[in-house]
């Protein structure tokens, strides 16, 4: 049986609000699952239930077939014996212990030497080897995050749970650490579930995404598929960005970069820090459609293509195009009528360079 994390947990809060998170997440085809949703949707509650930190959670949880919770049989594995690594939102480092003391905290089964070796090994991997004698109060936000991650990884957990791992950082640090965190998670060899409400983080960190809205998990799938094909309107609203294209860097200059998605080239503003691979994100409402042989305009990206499908959403029409890459445009109903936007119609999609948002992988 492929290892998977399956859970169906319910948590009722005083006042009647109920969270019911249910999903089956395969853990072998990509290390990072993002639990994504707006604030208050129940992501952190679900994560705490997975760690065994919420005694009021009801339902079932099992990892690779091993039961962790089955409240119908009053069975619950305590957090001590689930062997998960948990990264708290503000890291919850022990303020009275040094970095070495924090990282080695979960290693009390080992002898002194073995513990020191393991601490040095994990600290080296996360580049905190020179901070071992410091106290948490003497660390920067980014260093704290790495120490917390090292502490969680040191006892070789079977599953990592990260609660908004970047939200305690200021914006520039967050930008900087996103890709680094992704590499650390990839390199750890431990499957991870990351809670976030930030689209960019979801894209940059996740292989798979589970979208949670109002206490329910609404859609699970590869990140790009879910962003490109939300299962319903609520998910579409939450994920927001309809067009997510995997791209490769093709060139840069004058503060702009050219990226290639298959045969199609796109120009975007250079966000910096971009290496080879990235996602280009374009909101559907930023895609302008014009007649196939349109006049020149200021938009840098002109993609000729064909309408493949359309769906009406009140005053707006969602138009799916094939421009060599799939693209979704959101236009008003009058313009859709005036242009006769029906499947088969040839049009040109215009996207201004600043509307192409690049997220590094």
């Amino acid at each position: 049986m492929a290892p998977s994390l399956s859970f169906d947990v319910e948590r009722t809060f005083r006042g009647g609000a109920t969270i019911r998170a249910q999903a089956e997440l395969p853990l072998d085809d990509g290390p990072v699952t993002v639990l994504f949703g707006p604030s208050g949707s129940g992501k952190s509650t679900a994560l705490r239930a997975l760690a065994g930190l919420d005694p009021d959670a009801r339902g079932t949880i099992s990892l690779a077939g091993e039961p962790w919770l089955d409240s119908s049989r009053a069975f619950s594995v305590p957090p001590q014996r689930r062997r998960v690594g948990f990264l708290f939102q503000d890291y919850a480092l022990f303020p009275h212990l040094t970095v070495a003391g924090n990282v080695g905290y979960g290693l009390f089964g080992l002898g002194r030497e073995a513990r020191a070796r393991r601490v040095a090994e994990v600290a080296g991997r996360l580049r905190i080897g020179d901070l071992l004698e410091r106290r948490p109060a003497e660390l920067s936000g980014g260093q704290r995050q790495r120490v917390a991650l090292a502490r969680a990884l040191a006892p070789a957990p079977r599953l990592l749970l990260l609660d908004e791992p970047l939200s305690a950082l200021d914006a520039p640090t967050r930008e900087e650490l996103r890709a680094e965190l992704r590499r650390a998670l990839e390199g750890s060899g431990v499957p991870a579930v990351v809670v976030t409400h930030d689209r960019v983080e979801a894209l940059a960190l996740g292989d798979r995404i589970a979208v949670m809205i109002e206490g329910r998990i609404r859609q699970v799938g590869p990140v790009r598929e879910v962003f490109a094909g939300p299962s319903d309107l609520a998910v579409a609203r939450v994920v927001g960005t309809e067009n997510v294209l995997p791209v490769r860097l093709a060139g840069r200059g004058d503060g702009l970069v050219t990226v290639r998605a298959g045969e199609v080239e796109l120009v975007a503003v250079d966000p910096g820090g971009l290496e080879a691979e990235a996602f280009a994100c374009i909101r559907a409402e930023e895609v302008v459609l014009e007649e196939a042989a349109g006049a020149a305009s200021s938009a840098r990206n002109r993609l000729p293509g064909t309408v493949t499908a359309r769906s009406d959403e009140g005053p707006l029409v969602r138009v799916r195009l094939d421009c060599g890459v799939p693209l979704v445009a959101l236009v008003t109903r009058p313009s859709a009528e005036a242009m006769g936007l029906l499947p088969g119609r040839r049009v040109t999609a215009l996207v201004k360079a600043p509307a192409v948002r690049l997220v590094a992988r």
Binding site: P79, V84, A92, Y105, T173
Partner: protein, 224 residues
């Protein structure tokens, strides 16, 4: 100076403090972490000695542990002596009387430890006891020590309960405060001055220590 009374007072305060650490810590831990509805009730009972005149406590103890009451007979069977006018009875009464002065600072100190640190410890595999020893205790010890010192000082200064339960038996229940009362009654003002000054200095030293301890060296780290 009544040295016997001083020795007795210090002994009583030490034993009372030890008993309060033993009994008060688990009780304070329960108060700080429990989500039970009974908590309010327990907190109120613990705080009662603050507002009750000591004579009320002493009166009920004398009634409850009287030679003919079931509790009194049980006490006699266990302790080998009658409850009133014995050191054991005095110790028991002192523990009850100083309970809030230990348990309230204990509970405040334990509640001041970030619950996420406790959770972090548990997720990392540490048992409840290990978590208490490695995380809670090191982070709360100032408050715990302050509570212990306060209980010690409060026991040193108690009067009403001692008089009601212990009476005034030299070497057994005559504490410093009772001795002072005797000295004043007997118009021996020179001895009374000494006793009173000693109690004043001791209490002042203890309170200074308590406030010094409450300046925690582990400031909460600033949010990034």
């Amino acid at each position: 100076m009544d040295l016997e009374a001083l020795r007795l007072s210090l002994g009583l305060a030490t034993l009372t403090t030890a008993a309060l650490l033993l009994l008060g810590l688990p009780l304070a831990h329960w108060i700080a972490t429990s989500r039970s509805r009974l908590r309010v009730l327990v907190e109120a009972v613990v705080a009662l000695p603050i507002v009750l005149p000591p004579t009320v406590l002493g009166f009920y103890l004398l009634l409850g542990f009287g030679p003919r009451a079931p509790l009194g007979r049980a006490w006699e069977a266990l302790a080998g002596s009658r409850f009133p006018f014995s050191f054991g009875g005095l110790l028991f009464a002192s523990v009850l009387y100083s309970l809030p002065f230990a348990v309230q600072p204990f509970a405040a100190a334990l509640a001041g430890v970030d619950p996420r640190l406790v959770e972090a410890s548990k997720v990392l595999g540490a048992s409840g006891l290990r978590t208490f020893l490695r995380v809670t205790l090191p982070l709360a010890w100032h408050g715990l020590l302050a509570g212990a010192v306060l209980a010690f000082a409060h026991t040193l200064g108690e009067f009403g309960v001692v008089l009601m339960v212990g009476g005034n038996v030299a070497g057994r229940t005559r504490t410093l405060s009772i001795s002072l009362f005797d000295q004043v009654e007997g118009l021996d003002y020179a001895a009374a001055h000494q006793t009173a000054a000693l109690l004043l200095v001791l209490s002042f030293a203890v309170l200074t220590l308590v406030y010094a301890l409450q300046r925690r060296p582990f400031a909460r780290w600033p949010r990034p």
